[in-house]
């Protein structure tokens, strides 16, 4: 049952990609900024819990809660200090490229701080649901993988319900479509920019915590995670969280299949080549043009 197990592995990694892609695209929709620091929040979540639990000896729930609060407070401060000066001032800084570099700088800063706090070794948050893999016939389900999937379904579902059915979700959508128009009808677009930034930072940290037992993190792992999230978000046209989710799952499954059937060594290379070719062949269908004009 090679195919089945590859599929399970692919869906597990794919759901991680998908969640980061959703984080990137939801915030892009609200703020028109691509968040390249989303993976760094995940890294801080994982290494922070590890540090507080293993090194400082705090109980696990306290360690998790503390880490998430620190991430939220940091995201709040960043929005209040940097994004406020950059976007709400007399001379707002616009353009996707230049704003991109703010989150890029943020990513560097977080990595640098993490290096000081957590060192350079590979660590991971403790496994929340330990034990041997569950088997169903010839299919193997790693418990950590199932936990990631469960988190993806719960958090992703809650997020979707929020955007789809609440007034806040509608307002959020309006902020991204036309921030001036949204402000005119009384929506505080800055508030949503802040809310979603903090929210996605915390969600990223949660995923860092549940994912790290599978892969292990160093202070530099954030960039790779951001990259996969960014790529999957790109294939969702950056503005469509639903498509970003599908794209993330698809990339995860494709990666597992290429690794299993084509070449373990060059699987990723083939994957990237396929992804590049897809953009060049169907830029419009993949939503790139709307992302640029919007």
């Amino acid at each position: 049952m090679k195919f089945g197990n590859l599929l399970i592995a692919g869906i597990t990694t794919g759901s991680i990609y998908a969640m980061f892609a959703v984080c990137v695209s939801v915030w892009y929709r609200v703020s028109n900024i691509l968040n390249l620091a989303v993976g760094d929040f995940a890294m801080v979540g994982a290494l922070g819990v590890d540090n507080l639990y293993r090194v400082k000896g705090l109980p696990l729930p306290v360690a998790i809660l503390t880490t998430l609060v620190v991430v939220a407070v940091f995201a709040y401060l960043y929005d209040q200090v940097v994004l406020r000066i950059a976007q709400d001032g007399r001379r707002p800084i616009e353009g996707i490229v230049i704003t991109f570099f703010f989150t890029f700088a943020l990513s560097f800063f977080i990595d640098g701080v993490a290096k000081v706090l957590f060192g350079t070794d590979v660590h991971a948050a403790p496994t929340l649901w330990g034990g041997p893999a569950l088997t169903l016939g010839s299919l193997n389900f790693e418990r950590s993988g199932l936990l990631v999937l469960a988190c993806a379904v719960i958090i992703g579902g809650a997020f979707w319900l929020y955007i789809r059915f609440t007034l806040g979700g509608k307002a959020l959508e309006a902020s991204g479509e036309n921030s001036v128009g949204a402000r005119i009808v009384g929506i505080d677009t800055r508030q949503y920019r802040r809310l979603i930034f903090i929210g996605t930072a915390v969600i990223a940290a949660v995923f860092g915590i549940v994912e790290s037992p599978i892969t292990g993190f160093t202070y530099l792992s954030g960039a790779t995670i951001s990259l996969t999230g960014f790529l999957a978000a790109a294939y969702g046209g950056f503005r469509k969280p639903g498509r970003a989710l599908v794209a993330g799952l698809f990339i995860g499954v494709l990666e597992a299949m290429l690794g299993g059937y084509v070449s373990a060594e060059y699987g990723d290379t083939v994957l990237y080549a396929i992804l590049a070719a897809a953009i060049l062949a169907w830029p419009r269908a993949l939503g790139f043009e709307s992302a640029v004009s919007g």
Binding site: I93, V97, F101, F109, L227, D268, Y272
Partner: protein
């Protein structure tokens, strides 16, 4: 002193403002930055070449060669392609292999590799530059990801260990001192040459094309910029600079680590570019120096380099999105103003200063008179309106608004011969039919209008004629030749000019440059030829004539976003008129204008129509019936009316469609 300041201010900013042309005559265009780089670099290499400072400088100069190219490609023209680290690797690995296995000297291998990189970039670029904006960025982001997988698995390239090199950049044998200093000097010379070329390109007429391309690719195409070619040239330029950087890197460092092709190298280069100043080649050099010195510092800065870079990038971008070079340029401009003001007051005394101010006041007075002249109908207009009015075409006898000079390129269209013919055009988006079997023909001159309710397909039809939308079926024939498959820029050369429903001016440039874009003669030239000479001044002169003809000469040096909507529309009209078009497509030129402004516009259009063919999309039925000799009405993609203004007023179809609603 003042001229030096002016020149250095220009060196730090890409800007080539008209005002600075006086100083430009002394220093050859693009000379100043490269002379600074050459002199400062040589001094540093000769004095510190054997010390740690010198070696860090040479390393940063290697990166600066790459970032200077990125300033043209990524910063100035906004064509974001993540191909630099890969081509840096191509240069470095290629030289190492040729030197080790084929025993080629480093210099010769370098030349071979740069040529090879240019060819590869040409092939790769002709595929990837079909994509625009984010698609281009994401597609090329795969390049370093693929390259890293390849390099780490390839023994020939040393895999994760890296590849050493025995040869040196300095071709002759000699003492270690000579080899180190000579190699360093070669790097400095290459860097100065790259900065020279980059600055020359940015300040040339193609530089203006590239700027428009960076702001809006579609507008650029409608103004005659051959966007596919320019994008490919930029890609190749960026790749060649990257390969050059890789060549001198391996020649001076004698080692290629696997990380050169890594995405992190790409990010490091981008950080250098954005900290230094994304649009300025010399800023890119400064950025490379700053980052390399910070990384090379042997104290807490280099230990916590990530924190330092993160904070530095954030702070610099918050202060000025144009980076350090932007900050320096602002500082120099401030100094210049200060020293200039001091000099003027010292030389002329306070009385003269008042005189100068008086002239300013007189100018305003003259404008006011102009306003009063045209504003006859509305003496009660608010002060604001009176102030704005002269900025348009006020104060001019409209019948003489366009003397021969403006339309000199056009010999005046023929009254009876068909200029444009649209034959059975259909356009579908998905399953939605936007244009259904639309046919119309226009003669060489006259004023024609296209009306219809919202969503009738008016703008789509205009886009089909202008070339930015391809019809699903049908033909567009212009001056006897089928142009259905011709791209927008070629239609522009044939004499089709257009304005847009929403004003598409180029922010950050003066009115003069906005009009000059349409007067460029550089479209068929390649970027390389523009290093030698530029015809930007000729284009600006032609633009200035058009502005003068329209009574807008006093606006020439204003930045376009500081203008009112009417003035912006007038600038767009001037831009469409400047090349002397045979067919002028105007998409709702009157929207957002006041009644008085509309009347001025109408008078101008009538004058224009005496010489050329004008097709106007307009909602204002009174205006349409007043000025146009023939009117087309679209509804739901069908052409439902085609006739003169008298029939238009009495037509039941028109009344039910347009007046009733």
């Amino acid at each position: 002193m003042n001229q030096f300041l002016a020149a250095s201010s220009r060196a730090f900013r890409w800007s080539s403002a008209v005002a600075s042309s006086r100083a430009a005559r002394r220093v050859p265009r693009g000379g100043m930055p490269s002379v600074i780089v050459l002199a400062a670099g040589a001094i540093i290499v000769l004095n510190y070449g054997l010390l740690y400072t010198g070696s860090v400088f040479v390393l940063s100069a290697c990166y600066a060669i790459v970032t200077a190219g990125m300033a043209v490609q990524i910063g100035f023209s906004q064509q974001i392609a993540f191909s630099q680290s890969v081509f840096f690797g191509v240069g470095a690995y290629g030289v190492a292999l040729l030197n080790t296995h084929a025993h080629m000297s480093v210099l010769l291998a370098g030349v071979v590799m740069v040529v090879a990189a240019a060819l590869v970039a040409l092939l790769l670029g002709s595929v990837v530059t079909r994509a625009s904006g984010l698609a281009l960025a994401v597609a090329t982001l795969m390049l370093p990801l693929i390259a890293v997988g390849y390099v780490s698995g390839t023994d020939l390239l040393g895999g994760p260990v890296g590849l050493p090199l025995n040869g040196t950049l300095w071709p002759a044998s000699g003492s270690t001192t000579l080899i180190a200093l000579g190699g360093g000097l070669i790097v400095v010379v290459v860097l100065a040459a790259v900065v020279f070329i980059a600055t020359r390109i940015l300040s040339s007429d193609i530089g203006l094309e590239l700027f428009v391309l960076g702001v809006d690719e579609r507008t650029a195409a409608a103004l005659g910029v051959r966007t596919p070619r320019r994008k490919l040239e930029l890609f190749v330029l960026g790749c060649v600079c990257a390969a050059l950087g890789g060549v001198v890197y391996v020649g001076t460092q004698q080692f290629v680590p696997e990380t050169v092709v890594d995405p992190t190298t790409e990010l490091a280069l981008l950080i250098m570019l954005f900290i230094g100043g994304r649009r300025s080649p010399i800023g890119a050099v400064i950025g490379a120096l700053v980052i390399q010195y910070l990384q090379g510092a042997s104290n807490w800065v280099s230990v916590n380099i990530l924190i330092v870079e993160g904070v530095l990038l954030t702070v610099v971008l918050l202060v000025d999105p144009e980076g350090i070079s932007g900050i320096v340029a602002t500082g120099i401009a401030w100094l210049r103003r200060k020293s200039g003001a001091a000099r003027v007051s010292a030389a002329l005394g306070p009385a003269e200063l008042t005189g100068a101010e008086l002239t300013g006041a007189e100018l305003t007075g003259a404008e006011l008179t102009g306003a009063e002249l045209t504003g006859e109908g509305q003496p009660a207009a608010a002060a604001g309106t009176v102030r704005e009015a002269p900025d348009a075409i006020a104060g001019l006898p409209l019948s003489s608004v366009l003397p021969d000079s403006t339309l000199a390129g056009t010999a005046g269209g023929a009254r009876d011969a068909t200029l444009l013919e649209v034959r059975g055009v259909f356009k579908e988006y998905g399953g939605l039919s936007v244009l259904h079997d639309v046919s119309l023909a226009l003669p060489g001159r006259g004023l024609f209008a296209l009306c219809g309710p919202n969503g009738a397909g008016k703008s789509t039809l205009l886009n089909v004629i202008g070339g930015s939308v391809a019809p699903s079926s049908g033909e567009v024939v212009f001056a006897g030749s089928d142009i259905t498959r011709r791209p927008p820029h070629e239609r522009f050369y044939l004499g089709i000019s257009r304005t847009f429903q929403a004003v598409h001016l180029i922010k950050g440039r003066t009115v003069l440059d906005n009009v000059a874009v349409a007067c460029l003669a550089s479209h068929t030239a390649s970027i390389v030829t523009r290093i030698g000479r530029s015809q930007l001044d000729a284009a600006r002169a032609k633009a200035a004539r058009t502005l003068a003809d329209l009574g807008m000469a006093h606006l020439a040096d204003r930045e376009v976003s500081s203008l009112t909507l009417e003035m912006q529309r007038m600038v767009e009209l001037a831009r469409a008129l400047a090349p002397g078009p045979r067919l002028l497509l105007l998409d709702e030129p009157a929207s957002g204008l006041s009644e008085e402004q509309r009347q001025r516009l109408a008078a101008l259009l009538v004058t224009l129509a005496e010489r050329t063919c004008v097709l106007l999309v307009e909602h204002d039925l009174a205006l349409v019936a007043q000025v146009s000799e023939r009117i087309f009405v679209l509804s739901g993609g069908h052409l439902v009316f085609d006739g003169g203004p008298a029939d238009f007023r009495s037509s039941p179809v028109v009344n039910s469609l347009l007046v009733g609603s």
